[in-house]
Homo-oligomer: 331 residues x 2
């Protein structure tokens, strides 16, 4: 274990957090917690890619409004999405005039951005950074699978890409601290089913959580919640089995944002939510508020990404996955 | 101008640098400088995406061999490419077991990775990082334009995507120092021609260089070379005109990696080279060696990225661009 595996950030806090989601997400069990919704899946635009960019643009403006800041007060934007060449993020950030770092970590992007932003701020390289990620059900379906108009049937293990985005304004002040983080390594256990990404990502989540426990000496009892990004019901079951096989007690506080955002009984979501926007919106919109209300004190957020594309899947290559972790604490 | 706009890194040096390229690049004016070539555009694999991943994989191994290190000695991999969902990078890094951060900055990715790696190392968060980027002519043509088999004609302003990759091993020792850096902001001046990305990116390069000069008080005379990533002949002309219009003397030491890598008279490359792999291979294979030989002491490398995708171009959206800069110095 590398001694530098655990990243300590110094005094880095969440100054504000905001999430914007679509209609289906607003009708789920935690729908009332999101800061803004739009029932129009086009967000007033003419194509789904532009819709996703518009959702992100609105959410960034809402974040700044909530914080009483402007882009001119912001040193850095760090974010990404699932679209080819991450265009939702780039088009949303294009008018800001703020220095911009684009990331691609598939669904791990949100926590990747928090790690990078925290290193920049914690080391004094900048004073504030907005860390964000997004996904959109319609743009993701068309790009990764089929245009929605085809009416393709989905398998039971498939997940529904969340239409949502979340953004955090990080700086030197706030009530929730970015305590530490761990960058994931890529795990590829040979899963080739692009309709079961929970299985591929579960292996990465388990690897990162195990490394995190080993490097810090912490266990599940040190956290009120250990939450993965978007393993969904299938991936969550697999992760629990993997922990059990290795004799690691992961306890009853092991959840998943993809399981929280939808009601499986009431909504047609198969194995749960997925996408960059899943943990981004659930953390920024819901978990952050629970932490501010002191209902959660220590949260280990583990965002999981499946690093495939359509070509690699169609050619039968297995799915590399990665998981990044951040410990958020209320001091 | 934000006081934190210039990033100072501390003691961060290049420990080793390696570039691998394809046949056309090996036949260009600086072909002899590259560390490895393969005349097989498939790099022994069965599809172009796998070929690009294999090229990156070999280059990373070559870098470690040259440095006398292994992946186990490496704290962090930071890189990206142009493929949808950056699969060349992810598949190349998949077997390393090293913590991995994926970036997407289009052709600005190489310098983006150097900036991020330098912040992690300079702030003591890790001891070593490999920063890298790649592109491949055949995978890029198929993805962004047409499969090569169509034999499509290319416009005079179009550029040839470099088949190449470059990687730097950054750490606390070496003869070339990462002196400072500047993160670009997105510039969108309304260019919509995806066959003239040099024009879109020139605006971003000029913006970053102007901001760099303003924040540091330096001018072109402080550098032996100011080199952009892949503006090509067209974009370089536009950038020079823009500097002249603003009364900024950019001097005769203003070059472009896309102009260096090919011989326009002898090779069918239209406006020059482009792609993530252009500045990555030219800097790691060529400019780094000139610096080690003391033929260049101060280089400002400005990597330029066009943040479009095929959908955004086909729908007529203009091209957002970004440019990140790093000052490399020989102490």
């Amino acid at each position: 274990m590398n001694s530098k595996a655990i990243l300590k950030f110094g005094n880095v806090y969440i100054g504000a957090a905001v999430a914007t989601v679509g209609k289906t997400e607003s009708e789920g069990p935690i729908g009332d917690y999101f800061d803004a919704i739009d029932t129009d899946e086009y967000f007033g635009k003419k194509d789904f890619e532009e819709a996703e960019a518009e959702m992100v643009r609105r959410n960034l403006n809402l974040l700044l409004g909530k914080a009483g800041k402007s882009f001119a007060d912001t040193d850095l934007l760090i974010g990404g999405d699932l679209l080819n060449q991450c265009t939702a993020t780039a088009f949303a950030a294009a008018e800001s005039g703020v220095p911009y770092l684009g990331l691609y970590g598939a669904c791990s992007t949100f926590i990747e951005s928090v790690i990078c932003g925290s290193v920049f701020i914690g080391s004094g390289r900048c004073d504030s950074a907005i860390c964000f990620a997004s996904s959109h059900f319609c743009s993701a379906e068309r790009q990764y699978r089929f245009p929605l108009e085809y009416g393709s049937l989905r398998t039971p293990t498939s997940q529904r890409t969340v239409t949502g985005t979340g953004a955090l304004l990080l700086g030197n002040q706030g009530s929730i601290r970015i305590e530490s983080g761990m960058i994931g390594r890529i795990i590829n256990k040979g899963v080739t089913d692009a309709n079961n990404m929970g299985a591929a990502m579960a292996c990465a989540a388990v690897d990162t959580i195990k490394r995190y426990f080993a490097a810090t000496g912490k266990t599940q009892s040190d956290f009120d919640l250990i939450v993965t990004g978007d393993l969904g019901f299938e991936g969550n079951d697999i992760a629990k089995d993997m922990f059990a096989l290795e004799g690691i007690d992961i306890g009853n506080n092991f959840g998943d944002c993809g399981m929280m955002i939808y009601d499986r009984e009431r909504q047609d979501v198969h194995s749960g939510g997925s996408g960059c926007g899943c943990i981004a919106s659930v953390f920024s919109g819901y978990l952050y508020k629970l932490m501010c209300e002191n209902r959660l004190k220590n949260v280990l957020a583990v965002a999981t990404g499946a690093l495939l594309n359509t070509n690699s899947a169609l050619r039968g290559h297995s799915i590399p996955a990665v998981a990044h972790a951040v410990h958020f604490s209320r001091g």
